[in-house]
Symmetry: D2
Subunit: 240 residues, 4 copies
């Protein structure tokens, strides 16, 4: 028997997190399955719903993220889909996909140390630095934040979401800045039990469908079309 | 306003397939959302459930696929997650991720031309070639097939699933060979309206979570551990 | 002893193509060494000089090839050099890096079948198709062709270069079109004994230095700078 | 005119580091050309010879580096060469390609601060840490070191090579450990004027030919052959 860490494969048998794969297929709930594959524990129904909402919020953000541009550029050169998708992933450098993990690390240590949200926010403001998980280069109010907060309120234990909301209240009145998708997703993932190191893993699971939809459309536009890369005027805190 | 093909992004607004992203977040159903992002139409409840089941069936198959090995190899060298995941994608060559698309092309043309399943199967047998979507290097009965067929029976229109089952009946009695995950997923995706060219796109959406779970675990095993690559005895029709 | 195909590694010993690596280091001639690593035979002094000239001709072509754009895009997102370089490679799709191999396949079969260059050229013209290895989207006279032809004239046996020149004479008078870098390099590589399947391998060896110089400069431009991807007016036979 | 940073491309003209590309082609010396493309200055004849020797020393190290294994794994799955090469690059994580840059940073700061080699070596020994650029998992005497030192002695100004040799003398008598290829190449690259941040760039230029030769051979071995990845017993300071 081939023993993999969480998946066991033997002739005529595949078990994931201790359960036959057929049961996962019959329930047909990717959010619940992937939660278990990453965390190794079964989520409650509320947790599964929140995780599904997080995945949906990450699906796409138009054609301005470098990852999406890299995907289109490679697709336009006639490479197969896996190449375009790989190039997109490689553009998730620390400036891009790392944002959610930085927000998670901040919230995690602040909640652990029982820090006061407004004090933390003021510390960043006084140093002239922006708070990870807040502000967006395009949106004044990131349209993904409010629905995620609503869905997340179903969690009975949500200290990181509370911390995020506390910082947001303070930053909104002090600077007119609100939370972004990295901030609210990071807070909710911590409340769901994901470690900061899993932040970009979840983001990749949620963003791949958006990338493949761009690549499929690029392929439909026909054979090789050249692009030019021009510097953009935008300066960008959150680019997800 | 930045006009992307299916996603529209404007300040404080993100619309996907014509609907504000907040609605997708509130429903929290990745399968429904991704179906729409790839096909540009809203699935029925049955279609969405079948698509969710397909995604679940693709999640992982232990550590023998080349993609999973590439992911572990790169992760063990100290590269960040996006690099490991990109390397895994690059290992989805035509022998690997292409299998589902070959099955879809076969089923699609056979159903269009109203071919008889047993006649098609005999044509392959008489030429000594295996039928795309049938047989597996590890499993005699691929444990993902039966549950997918059950779930897929909820579809009112399912000509490709019927064709797949017809071929399976014939191959089982003639050669003791049954369908594999690529075959049944390919048939169901066609019944759901996905073109063959979208086959590997869907497979990537479903398999990324399995890959990230392997990569996260590799990271937990600590700093650089060397691997050796040794030829395997296995000869492999289906390696997903 | 670890037996690799062309490289043997044992404690305190590394042999490449049967010779201790120290000898290669003392001669310090990358062109001669790489010729041997790919072909498994020692080039004459003329052959080594021609191969060096080919590598030099491939080094860079500004910032318009999709590969260079992909490298800059990924570098600008804060990813390490190997990621930028990998993304560049992925943009070498069939439209891009494949051009040299298509020219090599054509020249190889024409020389083998003793075809007349002008007849071959007319066949393409009469079908309204362009001849692989001829024409360039930017250059009317590709400035790499003449020096390569001069250097290549040192080869005593050069049937593919002669074929290339024969087609060029005809296309120049018939259509005002001359050979491009893919065409002349492809012809010379065949005369040097490289098979068509090694065409893009040699191109990658020659182009990596250009890509790394772009990536190093991108890194010096400082932290994350966003780009926009805009469709280019150019239509492009040769994009190398 | 398209103005690229070091390469200028205009119709019928390509200039690299201010010189027409035809001149580089006529000289046919990749080492001289690439030195200029990365550093933006013309090397002396001695410098060019040393740089050529460095590139040769990096060409290949059998099939045990993770990069070479990743290349073979992806090639065996039926992916095109650029995919295999990209996967190899992604396996150059900080444990692998980063070694040369760590050695360069150490030597650079020590020479700048006029540190005594034996004192630096003792500092590492007393902390139970190994000195970057010294020791090898396979070789007791890395066979690339002595020839590189010989070739490098042609440089009139070689403070970093001297520092490297000073550390080596001390480590050899104190611990029986000698320098590795990363150490001696790093010292020589510093003496040639390359910054530590260019270390892995040069390494990639030198190693690509080895990788493509592995990939070409993998392709010749025929269609899909599965591999297994098994943990290796080796523990590895230098894996280049």
């Amino acid at each position: 028997m081939v023993v993999a860490l969480a998946t066991r494969v033997a002739p005529d048998r595949i078990e994931i997190d201790g359960e036959p794969i057929g049961e996962f297929i019959r329930r047909g709930d990717p959010a619940e399955m992937w939660f278990r594959m990453i965390q190794g524990r079964t989520p409650s129904q509320e947790e599964s719903a929140v995780f599904g909402a997080i995945l949906c919020s990450m699906a796409d953000h138009g054609d301005t993220p470098p990852s999406t541009q890299a995907a289109r550029l490679v697709a336009s050169s006639g490479s197969p889909m896996q190449c375009s998708l790989a190039a997109a992933l490689l553009a998730f450098g620390d400036h891009h996909a790392g944002a959610i993990e930085r927000a998670m690390e901040l919230f995690s240590s602040c909640v652990r140390d029982r820090e006061i949200p407004s004090v933390v926010a003021d510390r960043f403001i006084s140093r002239g630095r922006r708070v990870p998980g807040f502000g967006h280069r395009v949106h004044r109010e990131d349209p993904r934040v409010r629905p995620l907060v609503e869905v997340g309120s179903a969690l009975t234990h949500r200290p990181h979401l509370s911390f995020f909301l506390g910082v947001q209240d303070h930053l909104r009145s002090a600077k007119g800045i609100v939370g972004n998708v990295d901030g609210v997703c990071g807070a909710l993932l911590l409340d769901l039990g994901f470690p900061p190191s899993a932040g970009r893993a979840v983001f990749f699971c949620g963003r791949i469908p958006g990338l493949v939809s761009w690549i499929l459309r690029e392929g439909e536009l026909g054979p090789f079309r050249p692009y030019r890369l021009v510097p953009s005027e935008e300066v960008a805190p959150c680019i997800a």
